[in-house]
Symmetry: C2
């Protein structure tokens, strides 16, 4: 029996696990996996060679996408609290689904392609339905991006797909 | 002989036309095309069904990516000025390449999947090397996203791919 710690995204309910950035049920997406590590949440991701902006550098849109999904996982982890802290993650926990209210990304320096990125998130302010998450991206140990996201508990209006008009 | 107006991205030099979001030379990317329309720059894009966040809604990372690339095209258009104004676009103009210094995206309401999005950009502040661009995304006529990007002229350090260490 595996004792591998589940990622936050592994704990999303099946009907909301199709996100292009981090849904385990989206075979064409990035499938980002975010893990609790102390009071931070950490993910690792190595962009494929197509994800360039200028030759040799990572496309800023991908960096925005990764911090966005990672921020929602960080917010979910904060709500779960003890259930996912340290090594005491329960694979039977269900992670709440947050959506992005606002995202701010500061590209401090170009991010090189071809190395593993480390994305770290930390909740800096929280209420029951809203979390403000600060994030960093590092490439081979060099900080290249700082970001901040406002994560909001998924509203009722998003529980069903919109009606086509 | 075609008289079709080129997009801003059609005017990027070949060696910097591989961006995942908007490079005409990246066959796996989104190939966003941005066109000057009066004092604004406009693009249309219909996300494929994989680009979901929650079922039926567009993934926020894609929206951030689209406004990011569109902002760089808007900045380039502003620098080109008359060369791309109205219908007087010259296919022989070369568009300068900007990179993103900072990006702020406000998700005003969920963006439905399956409809064409309209992305509009407008330079609100500019200097020789830096432009601040404000942007909107609308889905079937409904405003869903507001964004602002700081576009910076591509630095010398990005003219060559980074050296592997």
């Amino acid at each position: 029996m595996s004792t591998r710690r589940p990622s936050i995204q592994d704990l999303y309910p099946e009907d909301v696990a199709h996100c292009y950035g981090c849904g385990r049920s989206n075979p064409h997406g990035h499938q980002l996996k975010s893990f609790v590590e102390g009071d931070e949440v950490v993910a690792h991701f190595t962009p494929g060679p197509d994800y360039s902006s200028l030759p040799g550098f990572v496309y800023g849109g991908l960096l925005a996408s990764l911090v966005d999904c990672h921020a929602m996982a960080t917010a979910a982890a904060a709500e779960l609290g003890g259930a996912v802290a340290g090594s005491e993650v329960s694979g039977s926990a269900v992670a709440p689904r947050y959506v992005t209210g606002a995202l701010r990304v500061d590209y401090l320096k170009p991010t090189p392609l071809g190395v593993e990125l480390e994305i770290r998130g930390r909740v800096k302010e929280q209420s029951e339905r809203k979390k403000v998450v600060e994030l960093t991206v590092s490439a081979a140990g060099t900080l290249t991006v700082r970001a901040e996201a406002v994560a909001v508990r998924m509203p009722k209006s998003m529980e069903q797909p919109p009606q086509k008009t």
